[in-house]
Structure formats: structure tokens, C-alpha cells
């Protein structure tokens, strides 16, 4: 039952967030945080404009995110 609950809880999250890929303790995770804090777009800054793709492969520019509140979460398949 407990395992079932765990799997259910994990389901909506990205594969990158599965329990078997928890960020390792120590320097690797810390380095990610440090680099992010120093180099990622700061609170109050404009989100960068970059040409990427939508999920069908069509060009998508991040400037088109304007006009609505947006949540953007980085991930991948693993």
C-alpha cells in the first residue's frame, strides 16, 4: 500500500524528479545551486528571449510567453 502511494505521488512529476534520480548530496547539487544563483535570470529581470521549439517541432520564441502568467520547469526524459 505504501509503495502504491509512493508511485502515485511520483506519477505527476517529471522523470527527472523520480526518486531514483534524487540529486546527490554534497558538491554536485550544491554546485548546481551556486551556479544557478549567480548566473540564472534574476527575480525582476526579463526572461530571456530565445528561439526554441514547441512539442511538435515548430519554432517557438520565448517572447511569446508574455501576456500570461507562465510556469516553466526544466526537465527531460531522464
Amino acid at each position: 500500500m505504501r509503495q502504491a502511494l509512493l508511485l502515485l505521488a511520483a506519477a505527476p512529476l517529471m522523470l527527472a524528479q523520480r526518486m531514483d534520480v534524487l540529486p546527490q548530496l554534497g558538491s554536485a547539487g550544491d554546485n548546481v545551486v551556486r551556479q544557478f544563483e549567480s548566473a540564472a535570470p534574476a527575480v525582476g529581470a526579463s526572461f530571456p528571449g530565445v528561439s526554441i521549439f514547441d512539442e511538435t517541432g515548430k519554432p517557438f520564441h520565448t517572447s511569446t510567453l508574455k501576456g500570461r502568467w507562465t510556469v516553466l520547469v526544466s526537465g527531460c526524459l531522464t
Binding site: 527527472a16 526518486m19 531514483d20 540529486p23 527575480v43 500570461r68 510556469v71
Partner: protein
């Protein structure tokens, strides 16, 4: 994240996952795509396995947006309608994100629970048995080298992909170990046909460099088919070389209905690929849940036998709600043991060849 989507999408908030370079190549058998079309296949695979309704965006093959966002593998941004960053996190934290949205958008009348969702998840594909050919046990300190598939020399997809890695000595001092791993790409449904000739490779070292051996051949395997990578550990010295290595490999790409011989090539540079991701450790104790279990008592600062969110390192805190299976506000030893057991059941540990 899906519960937040259900609660705030009706309030006009748009949600996106951003696909970029794989953080953990080889995990669940998936390997790094080399074309945009393969990334699209990965996105479809992510939607299939997760059952999520959140749409995806896809970074360029050069991972331009990932680099612009400081490379964090699982970062999170809340952006207002003016295009300004309102909140950001190096590690996505759904609990904190919900609080942000409550502050900026407002509370919802009823918070959606995971149990309210009817998400249809699925397992990663498995086209042939694994755990048949022993894996090499490598240090986590190996780093993937920058490699370029030579598309101009083949009309076929790279059904098998090369992962080339260097140990710290090779990267720092120019002399050390070079790992070559040939991985079947599961998105093509291929397997090794062990009744055909095994994979062979040849390294064409540039002038000034030496690699030993220059040629290799995969093992003879008794089972008719499998999906384990073919791995080799070579000695390499960069010497005065500035040009990349050329690595050619020949193999049979086979499904249950067809089998074709292919020769394909990569150029492998001598520097680490910042988008190469982190290999799965050959040491199970280094993986998250096992490490959490092995250091359980050390994390339990107040000695109450259970772990509060505050007692965990920051990178783990954002996974807290997922670890806390019974939602009592604490992670206990039994919950960690379930996670460890699940991880162990995913496949055999790597063995030293």
C-alpha cells in the same frame, strides 16, 4: 506539478516543461538524442510514461536556453505577464511554487490532490533482455566528451549511439582512460542480434595522440538477443593533438522484423561536454535513496527517528512531498526503504568485467 496545473490553468496560468539535454543518460535505458526529431520522440515518450497534461517546449540541439538559464537540470521559473521573472529555483519545488501562485494569483477554493487525478502512466520500453552482458564499473568522475555524429556519412538514424567519456586524468593531464560505450537507442525498438557479428569499432587517433587498443570487438553472447550496452575501456594520451578522434563502428541494427548492417562514425573531441549529463553511478550507495538510507541517522538531527523537511539537504527538500508517501509531514525509514527497494528492482547492479 500536475495538481498545480489543474488548479491554476483555469486562472489563466500557462505551464510548460522544457526539454533539454538529458540529465542522466542511460537511466531507464534512454540515451541522448542526436537530432531534433529524436528529441520530439523523447517528448512523446515523456508524455506517454508520465501521463502528464503539461505541454512541452524543446530547447535547441545546442541547448541555448539551458545555458541561458544557468544549466540547472530541473530549474523552475514563474514569469509574469510582462515577461519578468517573479520567482526562480535551481530545483523545482511544487510546494513552493504553489505558495508563489497563491501569493500572486490567489488561493483556489479546493486544492487538487494527487488522488484526484487519473493519470495513466506507463513503463519505459524494453525491447530485449538486459543484465546479460556485465557492465563496467566506472567512477562517477568520468565526464562525457564532446562528440559529433557524422550524419553526412550515413543515411540511417544512429540506432546505436556512442558515449565517449574520459577519466579526470585524461581531461586534466592529457593521459588516462577513455571509455567507449555503444548504446542501443530504445526509441527505435532495436536490439543486439547475437547470432550476427558483434559490434566492432576502430579509433583513428589524430596526429600526436595515441589510443590503445585502436580496434575492439564486442563479446560473444550466448542469448540470441539483448539490449545491454557494449563497453570498452581504452588507454589514451592526447599528446600534442588538437584535432578530434574519429571513431567508426560497425553493427547490425535489428528489430524482430528486420536487421541491417551499418557503419557509422563520430568525431570525439578532447574536452568535456557541458551538456553530457551525469552517469548513473556504478556504486549503488551513491544514488539518492540508498545514500539517504545509509546516512539516515546522520540526517536525523533531533534523533526522533524520522526526517523532517528541514533536516534534509536543500536539493532533497523539493522532493520531500514525493518521499513522504503517507503525507504525515515526515519521511521515515520505511518510506526510504520502499524507495531503495524500488530502485533495486529496476535492474541488476553493474558488475566489474
Amino acid at each position: 506539478m500536475e495538481t498545480i496545473l489543474r488548479d491554476y490553468s483555469p486562472k489563466g496560468v500557462q505551464f510548460f516543461y522544457l526539454y533539454k539535454a538529458l540529465a542522466h543518460p542511460d537511466l531507464h535505458g534512454y540515451i541522448t538524442p542526436v537530432t531534433l526529431d529524436e528529441r520530439m520522440k523523447h517528448i512523446r515518450e515523456a508524455k506517454r510514461t508520465l501521463g502528464s497534461q503539461i505541454p512541452w517546449l524543446c530547447d535547441t540541439m545546442s541547448n541555448e536556453l539551458k545555458h541561458t538559464l544557468a544549466d540547472a537540470p530541473n530549474s523552475e521559473f514563474l514569469i509574469n505577464p510582462e515577461g519578468k521573472v517573479v520567482a526562480r529555483r535551481a530545483w523545482s519545488d511544487p510546494d513552493a511554487l504553489r505558495k508563489d501562485l497563491e501569493e500572486h494569483i490567489g488561493r483556489v477554493d479546493r486544492v487538487t490532490q494527487v488522488s484526484d487525478l487519473n493519470m495513466k502512466t506507463a513503463e519505459p520500453p524494453k525491447h530485449a533482455p538486459t543484465g546479460i552482458v556485465p557492465r563496467l564499473a566506472l567512477s562517477e568522475r568520468y565526464r562525457q566528451l564532446r562528440a559529433e555524429p557524422q550524419f553526412s556519412k550515413t543515411k540511417n538514424p544512429f540506432y546505436v549511439k556512442l558515449r565517449a567519456e574520459a577519466d579526470p586524468a585524461l581531461l586534466r593531464e592529457g593521459k588516462g582512460k577513455l571509455y567507449l560505450g555503444f548504446y542501443l537507442d530504445p526509441i527505435y525498438g532495436v536490439h543486439w542480434n547475437n547470432e550476427a557479428a558483434p559490434v566492432t569499432f576502430e579509433v583513428f587517433a589524430p596526429e600526436g595522440a595515441t589510443v590503445t587498443p585502436l580496434k575492439g570487438r564486442g563479446p560473444k553472447v550466448e542469448q540470441p538477443a539483448d539490449a545491454d550496452p557494449r563497453e570498452f575501456l581504452l588507454d589514451a594520451a592526447r599528446g600534442t593533438a588538437t584535432a578530434p578522434m574519429r571513431i567508426s563502428f560497425r553493427y547490425y541494427a535489428c528489430t524482430d522484423t528486420w536487421c541491417i548492417p551499418l557503419t557509422q562514425e563520430y568525431l570525439v573531441h578532447w574536452d568535456a561536454d557541458r551538456d553530457g549529463g551525469a552517469r548513473q553511478s556504478g556504486n549503488p550507495a551513491a544514488n539518492g535513496p540508498m545514500r539517504l538510507l545509509s546516512q539516515y541517522d546522520a540526517f536525523d538531527a533531533n534523533r526522533d527517528g524520522k526526517l523532517s523537511k528541514e533536516e534534509l539537504p536543500v536539493p532533497m527538500q523539493q522532493r520531500f512531498s514525493m518521499m513522504d508517501a503517507n503525507s504525515d509531514g515526515f519521511v521515515d525509514r520505511a518510506e526510504v526503504e520502499v524507495m531503495v527497494e524500488r530502485m533495486r528492482n529496476q535492474g541488476p547492479p553493474r558488475k566489474k568485467r
